[in-house]
């Protein structure tokens, strides 16, 4: 009896919760804007207080990122290839050596600027969110080749780029479920099929694939980010 009851409940839930979107526009890809705390693990090559902490302190800074993806497979979920970029600037007082050779704070400033660029392959498991209004969650995973372009100013200037890779896992909350009619109207007017809030966790290695002459620009632990994802 309980098995029959469970089957009946599931059938009803599926029937009533299924989302019919006969007029949804075709899916081309997605666009996202995100932000997350970031602190490059440059000091991993030093014991004790490293250069980054000595100059920029221990606090984390916010890295802003934007990305665009093109759907290459749409069926049981969605696969996208994409490009992402962003910006981070760490800025602090520079130093000088006093008569005793001790570092003292200078009136000049020094900064580390990073523009990360990524070539991404992302899988969105949006089957549940597409099918069930009461489960508006889309898990996703992403692999990316990373190239962090950077430059240092103040004192000796330096410019460079550090390559690496990253894995990301995240979940996106489908906002359409809050107001389906408005979401459908937005699709009709702008072509934006869905709007999500996302949160993800990234594990990266940005050290020129283990090069002995490269610093490590990856976050020390996992890097968190959140933002807005629009599927169009």
């Amino acid at each position: 009896v309980s098995a029959r009851l469970l089957a009946a409940v599931l059938l009803v839930a599926t029937a009533t919760g299924a989302r019919a979107e006969p007029d949804a526009s075709p899916r081309w890809g997605s666009f996202e804007l995100g932000v997350g705390p970031y602190r490059p693990n440059i000091d991993s090559e030093f014991s004790g207080t490293g250069a980054y902490e000595r100059v920029f302190g221990t606090g984390q800074r916010w890295m802003f990122r934007a990305g665009v993806g093109k759907s290459v497979y749409t069926g049981y979920g969605d696969v996208e290839v994409g490009l992402r970029t962003g910006y981070l600037r760490a800025n602090a007082g520079a130093f000088f050596k006093d008569a005793t050779g001790t570092l003292q704070h200078s009136a000049d400033r020094t900064s580390l600027n990073i523009i990360p660029t990524s070539l991404t392959l992302t899988y969105y498991f949006d089957v549940l969110a597409e099918r069930f209004r009461w489960l508006p969650i889309t898990p996703y995973g992403r692999f990316a080749f990373e190239r962090y372009n950077w430059w240092v100013s103040g004192g000796t200037s330096k410019i460079g780029a550090t390559n690496g890779w990253s894995f990301t896992g995240g979940a996106a909350l489908l906002l359409d479920a809050i107001d389906p009619d408005s979401a459908r109207g937005l699709d009709n007017e702008t072509g934006i099929n869905h709007t999500y809030l996302f949160f993800d966790v990234t594990k990266a290695q940005i050290d020129d694939f283990g090069s002995s002459t490269s610093w490590n620009l990856a976050e020390k632990g996992a890097q968190y980010a959140f933002g807005l994802l629009m599927v169009f």
Binding site: R54, A92, S106, A107, I159, D208
Partner: protein, 317 residues
């Protein structure tokens, strides 16, 4: 027809009033902002007036005319003009523009003037830059270059060619100021690369500081001055210094009439030095990155292979 004439008669005075009334006064800005004792006694010291008069409706300076500059020690009347021109002419009306009393005559020069001296032909454009001798302004107002501060009322008036009636004017005031500002208090001098970053507080009493000048004196006594640091800014950098040389730093405050504080601020030593930025600190601590792209062709190759793989995947899909 009668009704039309009657209507015209009714509205004509109103129209005439609207044309003759100018409610917005013109403006004059001065450079320097005030006249000091040394400027007053310097026969070659000019006071530059940038005047934007208000003209009676229908009058244009582009049609020619003359500008005159008048100065007075009397607060201008705010009463309505008796000559029916404009209320903004009130200062000019307190002086006698025909007898020469309190009038700066034959001192006005406008760049580009074809007459060279005396009253000048109006240039095109409503704004005129007029150079007058600073001491003449003080004397025309009835003052001498003494040790007392005075307020001088200045009027620029425009007379179209062929008429003795003022048809445009601008008014303002300028101070004859000999009171110096108080000496500032120097708070800190920070090292920078070939420079020193200086911060100070204004002194109390005296005239309001209009600007400050930083003075850095090297051991040989040679001095380097900053530019004018306009108040209320109280921190600035003095550049062009030599790293490793210790300078004695002071700050002077100046009033709008360029009168300096009697004394300099207190003195603080500062020594410019080479700046060590993040990269310098990183390398000094033994950092291994070399800059550029450390993975070089290998990293670029990996990216290209990935791009090719993704393109192939897309073709299959």
């Amino acid at each position: 027809m009668r009704r039309a004439i009657l209507l015209l008669a009714l509205i004509a005075p109103a129209l005439a009033r609207a044309q003759a009334t100018v409610t917005t006064p013109g403006s004059i800005t001065f450079n320097p902002l005030a006249v000091g004792a040394s400027t007053c006694t310097d026969a070659g010291a000019n006071l530059s007036l940038t005047a934007t008069p208000i003209f009676v409706s229908g009058v244009s300076p582009a049609n020619g005319g003359v500008y005159r500059v008048l100065a007075s020690n009397t607060t201008p009347s705010t009463s309505t003009s008796t000559t029916g021109t404009t209320s903004s002419l009130s200062l000019c009306q307190t002086t006698n523009s025909t007898t020469g009393v309190n009038i700066i005559t034959n001192q006005v020069l406008i760049p580009g003037s074809t007459t060279g001296t005396g009253d000048v032909v109006a240039q095109s454009g409503a704004t005129q830059i007029i150079q007058v001798n600073a001491g003449d302004v003080v004397r025309a107002a009835g003052f001498t270059c003494d040790t007392t501060d005075h307020t001088i009322y200045v009027c620029v008036e425009f007379l179209p060619t062929g008429t003795a009636t003022v048809q445009g004017s601008a008014t303002s005031t300028i101070m004859y100021s000999v009171t110096p500002p108080a000496a500032p208090t120097l708070n800190s001098v920070m090292t920078a690369d070939g420079a020193l970053q200086v911060s100070w507080s204004p002194g109390s009493g005296g005239a309001s500081p209009a600007y400050y000048v930083i003075v850095a004196t090297d051991p040989s006594g040679a001095q380097r001055f900053s530019g004018h640091i306009i108040a209320p800014t109280t921190s600035a950098r003095i550049s062009g210094l030599t790293n490793g040389v210790t300078y004695k730093v002071t700050v002077f405050a100046y009033s709008a009439s360029d009168t300096p504080s009697v004394n300099a601020s207190n003195e603080i030593d500062g020594t410019p030095a080479v700046t060590l930025g993040f990269w310098d600190v990183y390398k000094a601590e033994g950092g291994k990155d070399q800059g550029g792209c450390a993975s070089g062709p290998a990293g670029l190759g990996a990216l290209l292979l990935t791009a090719a793989g993704l393109a192939r995947l897309r073709r299959r899909s």
